[in-house]
């Protein structure tokens, strides 16, 4: 075992910190919180111009590219700085899928737009009737009868829930049902859908944690076959690639670290009603120490999938293990901090005051969703039970 940071990765970390210091402004962070849109075009395009999206991730099937550990560090640092990075994560995810599975057309026409930061993507998996059971997607894509020899065209109808950033996206990757007669996982096809096609509409959904997401409607969208990703009825294979990326590297599991830092700093000045400092209260000290232990463990578990990928190996359940622990620990931390803050823990952030107030309330509102999106805790446990512990499939 070796816990010494890799010099190349630390150099990259330093360069990302410099980039953040030079380009991330307080207004950008404030705007992200105000609008719930954790994407900032200026920041995104400046970052893209450094080549970080284009370089992509090295790994099985891709000789060149960034060390997955560096990408892990990228999201780690963006998370710690509170930078709006969802658009970046989606763009890198979809660029990665296109590189592995996309056609020459996708690589020529679309990939450069992701690489340059011109466009970002949204992820269209969840639906009103299917979330955890993502393979039950019902959004229908039917082949439109056409002239032989012409490019096939698909007629798309349906609804996607929780399409985060669709309101900024140039493309949405869309999981559709192309053959309802085949078993659930076999009748799916994935498309890369340009958002400017007629028949696409969306509506905002706001969340208690301040995230804005959307419902997206597809009504008689005529989609030429060149927008298909992967094989017809091979959508589940594409999903597997997408989920591996999502659970592996492009996550930020650092929320507990940021919260502890801010809370401990605040607790040095905050006073209880008897005039003593919060940080000197034994109950507070114990609970903060517990959070620090959880953070230490989260950090090591979160590193593992990236480390495996960096060694050219394929992470399997390691992403689930990390995500489950990190989100549950963050929820424990947010609950503890809110209680320790007492009545002050109830106060919500007031916009435009420099953003320092209300961080406890914000964390308490934000934490629950981390155990829901990207696969709920139950789904991660199912995955661990089946694939790590070798228990029978129970679904």
């Amino acid at each position: 075992m070796d816990f010494a940071p890799k010099p190349s990765v630390e150099e990259f970390r330093a360069s990302i910190r410099r980039f953040i210091a030079d380009h991330l402004t307080a207004e950008m962070v404030e705007r992200a919180h105000r609008t719930g849109t954790f994407h900032d075009w200026d920041f995104h395009r400046t970052l893209a111009a450094t080549g970080v999206i284009a370089e992509g991730m090295a790994g099985p099937g891709r000789a060149t590219g960034r060390d997955p550990l560096e990408l892990y560090v990228l999201f780690d640092e963006l998370g710690l700085a509170g930078a709006p990075f969802y658009g970046l994560a989606n763009a890198m995810l979809v660029a990665g899928i296109i590189e592995q599975i996309g056609s020459d057309f996708h690589i020529r026409e679309v990939l450069p737009k992701f690489h340059s930061g011109e466009a970002i993507a949204a992820l269209g998996y969840s639906e009103p009737g299917s979330g955890s059971d993502v393979a039950a997607a019902a959004t229908r894509a039917e082949r439109v009868p056409g002239h032989p020899g012409d490019e096939a065209v698909w007629l798309v109808n349906g609804q996607k829930m929780f399409t985060t950033l669709v309101h900024e996206a140039g493309y949405v990757i869309l999981l559709t049902r192309t053959d309802p007669d085949l078993p659930k996982h076999r009748g799916l096809t994935m498309f890369l859908v340009p958002m400017d096609l007629p028949g696409i509409d969306f509506q905002a959904i706001e969340t208690m944690g301040g995230d804005r997401t959307n419902i997206t409607y597809f009504t008689d969208v005529h989609l030429p076959d060149r927008w298909r990703l992967g094989e017809v009825n091979g959508g589940w294979d594409v999903m597997k690639v997408a989920l591996a990326y999502e659970r592996g590297v492009f996550g930020n599991m650092n929320q507990g670290v940021t919260l502890l830092r801010r809370f401990a700093e605040w607790a040095r000045t905050a006073e209880r009603s008897d005039g003593t400092r919060l940080i000197d209260d034994p109950g507070v000290r114990r609970r903060l120490a517990r959070i620090a232990v959880d953070n230490e463990i989260t950090g090591l578990l979160a590193l593992r999938p990236a480390l495996l990928a960096s060694q050219g190996r394929l992470p399997t359940t390691e992403g689930s293990v990390a995500k489950l622990f990190a989100s549950e620990a963050y929820n424990r931390a947010a609950e503890a901090c809110q209680e320790m803050a007492g009545t002050a823990g109830l106060l919500s952030p007031v916009r435009g005051d420099g953003g320092d107030w209300g961080f406890v309330d914000l964390a308490a509102r934000d934490a629950p969703v981390t155990a829901i999106y990207g696969g709920t805790s139950e789904i991660q446990r199912n995955n661990i039970a089946e694939h790590r512990l070798g228990l029978p499939r129970a679904r």
Binding site: M1, D2, F3, A4, P5, K6, V9, L69, L260, R261, A264, E265, R268, I279, D280, P282, R285, R286, L288, A289, R290, A292, V293, N295, E296, I297, T298, L300, L301, L303, R304, L307, Q311, V321, A322, L324, F325, E378, Q380, R381, N382, I384, A385, E386, R388, L389, G390, L391, P392, A394
Partner: protein, 349 residues
């Protein structure tokens, strides 16, 4: 950066895994109850050189890294080895840090394992170290007696008050017997803190191994036991409870290794902080894992016939000799946030 064992580290681990698999089946653990000491197993362990591992080679020991010691303790923990191993290793490592410890007449015999030592993790009061782990069977006890760190040789009582973990606990008088002062004042306090950190690290490793094995036992049992015409492992409530243990067990394994690695790299303050964290986290994980694994045995879990109750009791008993974990959380907080009343220091970790 690598979270996996190197080939050399695997060799160390596999050697100890084989040793304990061969020499310490669960019958040895049961036969050692209630005292919790298996002299024949200790005699076998001496043949491997393990009792002297924590002492540098220049002093006649095995010169093991902290990480090697962790690998040894994980394997010992997996089989609940009824030996005062963490205590002996922490004590001998401490003795080797001081000239008077090295000069003690029985130092070589401790390295050899002919004589057994125990590190008392809590300071003594009025010259008596209370409920010292390993204290019932150790010839030498290393303890903090007021402002002196001492090693005292006296007769091991060879009996322990009946206790939760069937551990060889005993009160030891530090003012009778052959007493060697290892250090005084601030130096004694620093050496004691270091000894406690070593003991925490080794105990964390043992608890991590214990927890990992308890989870395996839980998985094996739930795959075998059938109710409602299927293995109980097919029930989601059971699965989810078992799956919840994986992250914490993996996590403490990494954290303990990191604490050891940090000590090997020479960063003492950081390694003490990490050892405290690893200890606290491992104790909780071992507690939770053995609770769950026992619970999924149903009524059989609490019968003495089933092994899981042996794991359950040791998971609580091994760490509790340091006292209420909440007190250790407070000591950890001092490391992280500075002492109570201190002006702002950086938040470590």
């Amino acid at each position: 950066m690598d979270l996996e064992l190197t080939t050399d580290e695997k060799t160390v681990r596999d050697a100890f895994a084989r040793f304990f698999a061969d020499r310490c089946p669960v019958s040895v653990v049961r036969d050692a109850e209630p005292l919790g000491h298996a002299p024949a197993l200790w005699a076998r362990l001496r043949e491997t050189g393990a009792p002297g591992m924590a002492v540098p080679d220049k002093h006649g020991g095995g010169g093991a890294t902290a990480l090697d010691l962790v690998l040894l303790m994980q394997e010992a923990g997996r089989v609940l080895a009824p030996l005062p191993l963490a205590e002996h290793l922490a004590a001998t490592r401490t003795l080797a840090r001081t000239p008077s410890g090295l000069a003690a007449p029985w130092f070589a015999s401790l390295v050899d394992g002919d004589t057994v030592a125990a590190a008392a993790p809590r300071p003594a009061r009025d010259g008596v170290a209370r409920l010292v782990p390993g204290g019932a069977v150790a010839d030498v006890v290393v303890a903090l007696d007021d402002d002196q760190l001492v090693a005292v040789r006296s007769d091991a009582p060879m009996e322990a008050p009946p206790n939760h973990a069937s551990a060889p606990l005993a009160d030891r008088d530090l003012r009778t017997g052959e007493r060697v002062v290892l250090a005084d004042g601030a130096e004694a306090a620093a050496l004691f803190a270091r000894m406690v950190a070593d003991w925490q690290l080794l105990t964390a490793a043992a608890l991590g191994g214990l927890a990992a094995r308890a989870l395996e036992i839980g998985v094996e049992y739930t795959l075998e036991r059938r109710q409602f015409d299927r293995p109980i492992a097919a029930f989601q409530a059971v699965q989810q409870g078992l799956a919840d243990l994986v992250g914490p067990i993996d996590g403490v394994t990494f954290l303990t290794a990191r604490a050891a690695w940090t000590q090997d790299e020479g960063d003492q303050a950081e390694s003490e902080r990490l050892a405290s964290m690893a200890f606290l986290a491992s104790a909780e994980v071992a507690r939770d894992a053995t609770y769950a694994a026992l619970h999924y045995h149903g009524g059989y879990g609490v019968t003495l016939e089933y092994d899981i109750q042996l794991f359950f009791r040791r998971a609580r008993g091994w760490p509790l000799v340091l006292g209420d974990p909440e007190d250790e959380y407070l000591r950890l907080a001092d490391r992280l946030f500075g002492p109570v009343g201190a002006a702002g220091t950086e938040v470590a970790g």
